[in-house]
Amino acid sequence: MVDATIKNEGSVMRADRRNSLQKAWQRKSTIAFLMTLPLILLILVLVIYPALYAVHLAMLNKSMQRFVGLSNFSFLFTRETFWMVVWQSCIFALTAVFFKAIIGFFVAHFVHNIPDKGQRKWRGMLLIPWVIPPAMSTLAWLWLFDPSYSAFNWILEHFGIAGIPWLGDEHWARFCVILVNVWIGAPFFMIMYLASLKSVPEQLYEAAKIDGANWWQTMRFVTLPMMRNIIMITALFSTIVTFANFDIVRVLTRGDPLDQTHVFATWAFRLGIEGGDIPLGASVSLFMVPILTIGAIFILRDIVKRGNEA
């Protein structure tokens, strides 16, 4: 009798376990987890592991034989060039994102107002700079700025204007790297803003028109509030990508002249790979993380807050 009871309890427990397992399998969150598992593994291998390895490298001495804690970072803080790179990275990223956003915004409006029939062609053409691999398009820009064969200088000289040392003078060089970044990145803003514009309900514009709102009032009280989240997310995403930019500066100036166009990634490469100081290079590249994290937290918090209010 006792035996029979124990057997019954055992089988009940097994059945319960089976049921809970079945329930777990049927749960949406489990299925979602399993479906995202390949991506999670990919991120673990290609993002998390290299990031942790970079942290490990940043805490080694130059010959990578000794743990030195945070002394690579404290060393960097004493270097004049490091602070110059911090300053330049901020100027580069913020100026480029600002102009990309402005140009993207206006171009999106122009495209939005083109009749549907011809709009697709314009969208396709305007996306070209963003679609071409940046290393290739930057190479074309390099030739346009080239000291011997610059097409821009050729045109200037035809008008009797002296050629400009586009990449030889620090101010012009900074202008050039920002210009190329804006040229490549503005279409991304344009397409995001265009998608956002298309999702604004037509009734809102009609209501504003009935209320007698002018162009600016419609923009201020209808379009911009409706686009705000997209504007913030696009700006955040672009700021992160622009801060981490490597290819444009590397191809165009390599940080020259006098290190005055270096950004974090190019200076990290110069120190780590070219200069053989991998721990210091890793430290420079990791310096971006806290800056971008703080920016991301503020912007995302604002977006979530407004999402909840809505």
Partner: protein, 446 residues
């Protein structure tokens, strides 16, 4: 179709017989190692130059019964540096790798000592110069063997016609083909005078002031010609010496007649400057001349390679050797060493020089008079003086003789070119030298 069936007994018996066969007849090779040898050679700029080194390696493989797998690794985008760094970290990779100039010192702890090979090669091929020894012999031990492929001298490559017309310099008389130089009067003063005259005639000298190797090597040669050293062998910072001040004054004057965007030049800019016909001279191996002969033959036939002007500390030409080395963790060290010996024979060096149209420079004293340099043209004899056949110049590298870990930083960060550009742009000399001192203090971390 007939179906073949194998019984379980027969399968076991056949498997056992095969296993015995494998064990009883191992692969034997005369290179004491057998198997496969993985080699990573530098991917040459000159079209067709890879074929010569590949031919030597394959012939060695056939003779020694070793399967040679060759990768040609470009230095474009620093791929060769990335490969070396990755293999060094992973402790796995090629058995032989080409190492650019500073790399043997950087990876000395991971590289196999090759003193035995170098002793034999010096006996067989003649001495190597002090720069090869400085870069390849670390803490008294050779960790790399100088490679013919890729090694180059970046001396002046000048337009015969423009120098004569605008500066009155007869470069052919100073550096005649097939004869010793008669260039006693070719000094820093005459060079500067010629640079000013050519700039006035709108065919300026094309010396880069960026941070890539052509710029650094060129400016470094002027520093060496003045004996201006930024950090001495005992790690003392010597940036504020009279010699450094003297070269800075000279460079300020020279820079004032260089193209205005020279601070942004990369390794292609000087080539384009010469090939486009806009410049009277550059400092480069013969690649610019080769391109000119292909794309602008009228310019190509006017280009002559010659020696540097002499300075207070001698006549220094920038020399940039490549090395072949094998990792300590290589799986096939004995075969690797055997192939490196085969690549370092006179016949192998000669074939590489020929295939590279004279670009490659073997490091050994007996190998500076191959017929390729004397015969190639047009103009015939343009490369006669390129390999320094009369020991007319000291072949040196920028930032030597500072300790390697500091010298490499001076070189890769282009400290000397930055000093020159700062001074040229109006910064006071003392301020520039203080900046250099501050940077050098940073380079000294270990």
């Amino acid at each position: 179709m007939k179906k073949v069936t194998i019984s379980r007994r027969r399968f076991v018996a056949t498997g056992a017989a095969a296993a015995v066969g494998v064990v009883a007849s191992p692969y034997v090779s005369t290179a004491q190692s057998a198997g496969t040898l993985k080699v990573g050679f530098w991917d040459h700029w000159v079209p067709g130059a890879n074929a010569a080194i590949e031919k030597v390696a394959k012939a060695w493989g056939e003779k020694e019964k070793v399967n040679v797998e060759i990768d040609f690794i470009t230095s474009q985008g620093n791929k060769i540096l990335l490969t070396i760094a990755a293999e060094s970290q992973a402790k796995s990779g090629h058995d032989i790798l080409s190492f650019p100039s500073w790399q043997p010192a950087r990876h000395a702890d991971n590289l196999e000592v090759v003193d035995d090979i170098m002793a034999d090669l010096v006996k067989q091929n003649g001495k190597v110069n002090a720069t090869v020894e400085y870069l390849g012999k670390i803490k008294g031990k050779w960790v790399g063997v100088p490679s013919t492929a890729g090694s180059q001298i970046k001396g002046p490559a000048s337009r015969i016609d423009l120098l004569k017309q605008h500066a009155g310099v007869d470069i052919l008389a100073m550096y005649p083909a097939g004869a010793a130089p008669k260039a006693d009067g070719w000094n820093m003063e005459t060079y500067l005078k010629a640079a000013k005259a050519c700039a006035k005639a709108n065919v300026a000298f094309g010396i880069g002031l960026g941070t890539t190797s052509d710029s650094v090597d060129s400016v470094g040669a002027f520093f060496n010609s003045y004996g201006a050293v930024l950090v001495d062998e005992k790690e003392n910072i010597t940036a504020k010496t009279d010699k450094v001040r003297a070269v800075m004054e000279y460079m300020k004057e020279l820079t004032s007649v260089l193209p205005s965007d020279a601070p942004s030049w990369d390794d292609a800019s000087n080539n384009k400057w010469l090939v486009s016909g806009r410049g009277a001279t550059i400092m480069n191996p013969p690649s610019a001349w080769a391109v000119a002969n292909r794309d602008a033959p009228d310019i190509g036939k006017q280009i002559w390679h010659h020696g540097m002007p002499i300075g207070p500390a001698g006549r220094h030409a920038p020399f940039l050797p490549y090395f072949w080395g094998t990792w300590k963790f290589s799986k096939n060290k004995s075969a690797a060493k055997s192939l490196i010996r085969a690549l370092s024979t006179e016949a192998a060096a000669q074939s590489m020089v020929e295939a590279s149209k004279g670009y490659d420079i073997p490091a050994y004293a007996n190998f500076s008079t191959f017929k390729t340099w004397a015969e190639i043209g047009p103009p015939t004899g343009t490369l006669y003086h390129y390999p320094n056949p009369h020991n007319h110049q000291v072949l040196s590298i920028a930032a030597a003789p500072s300790p390697h870990r500091i010298a490499e930083q001076i070189y890769t960060q282009g400290l000397m070119t930055k000093m020159v550009v700062r001074y040229h742009r109006g910064e006071k000399l003392d301020s520039v030298l203080s900046y250099a001192e501050s940077e050098l203090e940073g380079f000294m971390r270990s």
